[in-house]
């Protein structure tokens, strides 16, 4: 069980502080903050999420720039505490619509009321927004959403994708809409994070997709929902059919390595029909997590060429090719490449007619940064950079630069080809037809090309 729970701002200010057992001394928040801030003298190394100072164990997670912290003196399950901290952040976000210092301070009475139901004497009680509604009576004061960043992977729907309603992100699940009745709607987001490592010859060394199906329901009366996935979905490496090279790109079964489900999900017809049924609780929650290492077509290919041009000069050419359909556009792309430490200058040259691109050589960490607003499927972009060195490179340029890494977001695209075939909502009446939003998005997790 935990002793204390607190939330600190980036500056170390106490925003919320609740002591459940009174066995950890005053000032623990300060001790914690000092320790985290000065973990290593050079400030290079991040403090691990769990550590012990003078017999007190501190756990922390970072959520939207805030530190959610718990302390204890006993040998608890650390994953329980860390999960709990994430979950508390989620519940508060569900209630307040937006999670930040301002909203926490404005709603402190509600937050303390929540904390009293979530934890009793250090033991976790209820973390489901749905259940908490029966025991929590304060109403949230929703703060102005327009200028604020939000929490969670769904926030990516805020940027770029105009097709998608972004309201789900900043809407409290308990507050009533100012305009009267709440809109009947449900959001299902399939969010995939890709990790790939390409070898210097462009061959894929490792690849993995971490996917999650998130749901946020604003349906009244909590009707039952059925979510149907690909018919040919398979689970476990053993379920993989005999190795068929064609299956790796294009058609073929989707084979997940492993997956897990929210406790409200019933799996009666999962094996036979690949269908999940559930009564969605209020609030945002993860229906399913999955992991896939089956080969898939990477959305981008990266090609890097380094040519020495004399002892103190070299040219770097980076090519990025989008290997997805031209009806899809990736946005907020960033390509990073560490350069040798003795690089003193870099000048850039783009392809003719390039728009919406930024190039920079970061002197401090000797890094090339190439930003592209968007990339349309099927297109290719090139950057040439002329480097000047302050000392001779001894032919080690390739070893001392790279790897090239990339971050991006591709809305309405998913690499695993896992699909929600249909979303069925148990009907209350003939006219009942709530809005259903099924959205896909793919992001880079660790997208790296070695050189």
């Amino acid at each position: 069980m935990i002793s204390q729970f607190f939330v600190l701002s980036q500056r170390g200010d106490n925003i919320v502080f609740r002591d459940y057992r009174g066995e950890v001394q005053k000032g623990s928040a300060e001790i914690f903050f000092r320790k985290v801030k000065f973990w290593k003298e050079d400030g290079q190394e991040e403090a691990p999420p769990v550590f012990n100072v003078d017999g007190v164990n501190y756990f922390h997670v970072k959520v939207v720039g805030l530190l959610f912290v718990a302390t204890t003196r006993v040998n608890v399950s650390p994953s329980l505490v860390l999960e709990l901290l994430q979950r508390i952040a989620h519940v508060i976000k569900d209630y307040l619509g937006i999670l930040n210092e301002d909203s926490l301070r404005k709603n402190f009475v509600l937050v303390y009321e929540l904390l009293d139901e979530v934890i009793d004497f250090g033991y976790v009680q209820i973390t489901s927004t749905e259940m908490l509604k029966s025991y929590v009576f304060n109403e949230p004061i929703v703060i102005d959403a327009a200028r604020l960043q939000s929490l969670g992977p769904a926030s990516i729907f805020m940027q770029g994708g105009k097709r998608m309603p972004g309201t789900a992100v900043t809407k409290s699940v308990v507050a009533t809409e100012p305009g009267g009745r709440m809109r009947e709607e449900i959001f299902v987001d399939i969010i995939e994070k890709i990790s790939i490592t390409f070898s210097s010859s462009g061959y894929i060394l490792t690849s993995e997709i971490d996917g999650t199906i998130q749901m946020k329901s604003y349906l009244s009366g909590n009707p039952e929902i059925r979510v149907a996935l690909n018919d040919d979905l398979g689970i476990g490496k053993d379920g993989r059919p005999t190795y068929d090279y064609r299956s790796s790109s294009g058609s073929g079964a989707v084979i997940l390595d492993d997956c897990n489900f929210h406790e409200s999900v019933r799996l009666d017809s999962f094996d036979s029909e690949k269908t999940l049924s559930l009564v969605p609780p209020d609030g945002e929650f993860t229906v399913m997590n999955y992991r896939m290492t089956q080969e898939f077509k990477p959305p981008f290919r990266i090609n890097t060429l380094i040519e020495e041009a004399g002892a103190l000069k070299a040219e770097v050419i980076i090519k990025v090719r989008a290997e997805f359909s031209s009806s899809i556009t990736a946005n907020t792309i960033m390509v990073l490449m560490p350069l040798p430490k003795y690089t003193s200058r870099a000048s850039f040259e783009l392809e003719p007619g390039a728009v919406g691109q930024t190039m920079d050589f970061k002197e401090a960490n000797k890094r090339l940064e190439w930003g592209l607003k968007k990339i349309v499927g099927g297109s290719e972009h090139t950057l040439r950079a002329k480097l000047t060195f302050s000392q001779e490179s001894h032919g080690n340029i390739t070893k001392e630069s790279g790897p090239v890494s990339m971050t991006f977001t591709i809305p309405m695209y998913n690499a695993s080809r896992l699909q929600v075939k249909y979303l069925q909502i148990a009907k209350k009446s003939g006219t009942y037809n709530p809005y259903r939003w099924v959205r896909y998005v793919t992001q880079a997790n660790s997208y790296v090309a070695r050189i």
Partner: protein, 904 residues
């Protein structure tokens, strides 16, 4: 509700408290609710609103749950400081516990359990008894936890009133949340009791396994963790349990997955069928890997656990090494753990892949990570004989890039590789020697020197290479000096020519006459004697064949591993330390700070300690109950007022040669906190016990602040301390508190001191000799330096007039001055603040030519004043300090103090 809660934080011009009081007594419900919110707001920002206690409690009788909760929140916070008034609330509590609304019943019991006031606890029993049998599950689950609360306040009461039996009945409750809380409460009570409270029989086991399927995710963790104490009768029993637990591996909550893994691993020890075991291993792999897709914080916990699991059962993840490859955006703490597991899973089959990764990591930017990657390559070379050559060629490639820290790290591991495969890879020595002059880290230097000495006969210019190091011998760190000594002896024995002979003389001279390091000196004398008496014997000793090493770094010994595996999914598995080395909640060290629910509460040290003291009186220790540690449940008393030490038996006196001195039993706990203290007794001279200490002044009193760290292998207790006679007659004044120290544990203590007890004669000295002993170790002595500034009293401020008068009244012979040519005062303001903080008070300032002259006053006990004149030019080195005092003999000490203070 309208508007923002933050409006409650705004203050009004009229007195806040009277206004709140008025609003709290308003006839309108809404106004009262708003007022309570304002009170709570004030409380959270640390204002003292305890004077409104009665008014707030009057709002308690309401049907409005929102308001009731606020009042309860207030009560929990202030009941401790107003125990008499808190009684006013009892009636409402008892009434609420019988309210028709189950939420109010539960709220009443939950809140009463949080108020640690004895009079309220007495009234808690009856409502609790009722609530444990309530019809509503929400009330029962709240009551279950409340039993644990009550046990923490008064264990006897719980046993006497039969609450344990009621709790056990709840294990069979039809509501899974009630079951989960009952299990959690029983587990906690068991932890703190030494009689069997909660034994898991096969009957409870099956009941709990059934409840497992219905529970919330958190309840599943409580139950799984409680069940992990169950010892299965035989293999079949174990298999049955595993079968029931395995579906938990599919849970989205990582805590459930890890607790299930723990349970399965434990039962696997009993399962004999290799098929079943293999099958289980196969089932556990995917969920374990999936943990690495969670947030980085969870990944870290998972990796620390996986590290242990693969040491016992490497097959589980043998084919999954790729998932441990580092992602470029992993936090450093995740990367480090992944590297460790990659080394553990590296095999002849995957080593090429692994080496490719390591090589890549070794060119990244993060220095610590790069070093660890280089070391990892070396460790793989040592672990996998067939891959050693490939590993070494990767190391050589890295050395050629000539990144300084990579080269140094590579040399360190190559030394180990030579130890593992003697006479195999010495051909690379030439390449290593090229990097000789770039080495600047002691460990790398020492390793290179070892290599040169060990292979002196194969390195043509070994003598030149070593000679280049010899010039700087006196400045080198001990580690390098020792290696230089040994390497030179080896060189001499292998090539007894003129050059080495001269070198050996230089080294032996340096290492005997010129050094203060006893290790170095001893080793040098041994070599010297060996060489001078029997060079052949010297050869046998120094050039003897060395045992081959293996890669055992970061490999835990099997008993520790067993213990840690039994603690999978607990903190122990993250720290890789047994629980008893870091769990300090052995009640003895837990200091209750009840009033601490809100940040920066208004209760400062004083009011808090007085409430503790009151509480200590109110709740006599239940030492007769036979519950261990019950005596220590008393809150720590407030530091007592300075008083002459009581006469106590003289245990250490004759050892340091002094008489009648205070010996203070150190048995009371204190909460660890405070700034770092200088190490006075290093662990090496204290048989593992390290003591840091410093004399400090706090709130007008002198304390000796100590930090004990037990680095020995045994628990230490019964600490005693004594001070030798000293100039100021400092001696311990009262009880100092150090709990029994487990190995690896540490504790702080604040010992109040008195002066003028055992004054030594002779010229004033800042020397303070201290002796400390405990029941396990003999007396340790150490010296401390008394900071003179600790004596400056709070009443040292003088009026300008009396300053002048005193100055004139003292003879000129009492004026002493000293120059500090190196000190620069950059900001007078900061300096004044610093001096004032040490009770040196600013009086006046004047300009003299281009210099600023400042006047200060200070006083030490027995009213001895110090009149101080500081002359300096701001921003330029050089400060002159002149003092006039009736006690000029203290001047040297004073100057030391003022120098420290001005320097900051």
């Amino acid at each position: 509700m309208s508007g923002h809660d933050s409006k409650y934080f705004s203050t009004t011009k009229k007195g806040e408290i009277p206004e709140l009081k008025e609003e709290l007594n308003s006839q309108y419900k809404d106004k009262r609710k708003d007022a309570v919110k304002k009170v709570i707001a004030a409380m959270t920002v640390g204002k003292d609103v305890s004077s409104l206690f009665t008014d707030v409690v009057n709002c308690m009788q309401t049907e409005n749950l929102e308001l009731k909760k606020l009042v309860y929140l207030y009560l929990i916070n202030y009941a401790k400081s107003q125990p008499d008034l808190a009684i006013l609330a009892v009636n409402t509590f008892v009434k609420d516990s019988q309210d028709p609304n189950p939420l109010i019943r539960a709220l009443a019991v939950r809140t009463m359990g949080c108020i640690r006031v004895d009079k309220i606890t007495e009234y808690l029993c009856d409502p609790l008894q009722r609530c444990l049998k309530d019809d509503d599950p929400y009330v029962r689950k709240t009551a279950a936890i409340c039993v644990a609360k009550l046990y923490d306040i008064n264990a006897e009461l719980v046993e006497d009133r039969g609450f344990l039996e009621s709790l056990k009945d709840l294990i069979s409750d039809n509501n899974p949340m009630v079951v989960a809380n009952a299990v959690a409460a029983l587990a906690e009570i068991q932890e703190n009791s030494n009689s069997p409270v909660f034994e898991i029989t096969s009957h409870t086991l099956s009941k709990l396994l059934t409840a497992l399927n219905e529970c919330t995710e958190w309840g599943q963790v409580f139950i799984l963790d409680a069940l992990s104490r169950y010892k299965a009768a035989d293999a079949r029993d174990a298999e049955n349990i595993v079968e029931r637990v395995t579906p938990r591996l599919q849970h989205a909550n990582c805590a459930v997955v890890l607790s299930a893994v723990k349970m399965i691993l434990q039962q696997m020890e009993l399962i004999t069928s290799t098929d079943v075991v293999r099958n289980l291993c196969k089932k556990m792999a995917p969920p374990l890997v999936t943990l690495l897709s969670a947030e980085p914080e969870i990944q870290y916990v998972a990796l620390r656990n996986i590290n242990l699991i693969v040491q016992r059962r490497p097959t589980i993840l043998a084919h999954e090494i790729k998932v441990f490859f580092c992602k470029y955006n992993d936090p450093i703490y995740v990367k480090m753990e992944k590297l460790e597991i990659m080394i553990k899973l590296a095999s002849d089959r995957n080593i090429d892949q692994v080496l490719l990764e390591f090589k890549e990591y070794a060119t990244e930017v993060d220095v610590d990570f790069v070093r660890k990657a280089v070391r990892a390559i070396g460790r793989c070379a040592i672990k996998l004989e067939r891959a050693a050559e490939r590993c070494i060629s990767v190391l050589l490639e890295l050395i050629k890039i000539k990144v300084n820290y990579v080269v140094q790290e590579a040399i360190i591991v190559i030394k180990d590789i030579f130890r593992r495969y003697p006479n195999t890879y010495e051909s690379i020595i030439a390449t290593l020697c090229e990097s000789l002059d770039t080495l600047d880290e002691p460990e790398a230097k020492a390793s290179m020197i070892w290599i040169i000495g060990e292979y002196a006969e194969r390195i043509d210019n070994a003598d030149e290479l070593l000679e280049s190091f010899l010039e700087s011998f006196p400045e080198e760190p001990a580690q390098v000096q020792l290696q230089l000594l040994t390497a030179t002896v080896k060189l001499f024995l292998k090539k007894p020519t003129e050059g080495p002979q001269q070198m050996i003389q230089v080294v032996l001279n340096n290492a005997t006459v010129e050094t203060d390091n006893p290790d170095l000196r001893d080793r040098a004398y041994i070599y010297w004697r060996l060489l001078s008496t029997d060079p052949e014997a010297a050869k046998d000793v120094v050039l003897a064949e060395k045992p081959v090493i293996s890669d055992d770094s970061n490999q835990l010994d099997s008993t520790l591993l067993d213990e840690l595996l039994a603690n999978i999914a607990t903190l122990s598995s993250v720290y890789h330390k047994p629980p008893e080395t870091f769990v300090t909640r052995v009640k003895a060290t837990a200091q209750r700070t009840e009033d601490d629910d809100y940040p920066e509460g208004s209760e400062t040290g004083y009011s808090e300690s007085s409430s503790h003291a009151a509480d200590g009186v109110a709740s006599p220790p239940t030492s007769s109950s036979g519950v261990p540690y019950s005596g220590a449940r008393q809150p720590a008393p407030a530091p007592p007022a300075p008083a002459p030490p009581a006469p106590v038996p003289d245990l250490l006196g004759d050892l340091i040669g002094l008489d009648n001195n205070a010996i203070v039993p150190i048995d009371q706990p204190v909460a660890p906190s405070g700034p770092p203290l200088p190490v006075l007794l290093p662990a090496s001279s204290g048989q593992g016990l390290q003591i840091c200490a410093q004399l400090t002044r706090q709130d007008g009193q002198i304390f000796y602040s100590l930090l004990f760290e037990n680095g020995s292998q045994i628990p230490l207790d019964g600490f005693m301390i004594q001070f030798n006679k000293n100039t100021f007659g400092l001696a311990a004044a009262g009880p100092l508190q150090v709990p029994p120290l487990q190995p690896g544990a540490s504790a702080r203590a604040l010992l109040p001191m008195v002066m003028f007890q055992n004054m030594s004669q002779g010229p004033p000295s800042s020397l303070l000799q201290v002796a400390v002993k405990n029941n396990q170790q003999p007396v340790s002595y150490f010296n401390d330096k008394i900071p003179f500034q600790a004596f400056f009293t709070e009443d040292g401020r003088m009026e300008r007039g009396s300053f002048l008068e005193t100055w004139r009244s003292l003879p000129d012979s009492n004026e002493i001055s000293k120059d500090f040519p190196d000190i620069v005062v950059n900001s007078m303001e900061a300096t004044l603040d610093r001096l004032a903080a040490s009770n040196i008070f600013f009086i006046a300032k004047r300009k003299h030519a281009n210099q600023d002259v400042f006047y200060f006053s200070a006083k030490i006990p027995r009213g001895v004043p110090f009149l101080i004149e500081l002359t300096t030019v701001i921003g330029t080195p050089g400060v002159k300090c002149a003092i006039k005092t009736p006690g000029p003999e203290m001047a040297p000490l004073f100057f030391e103090a003022i120098e420290t203070l001005i320097k900051g």
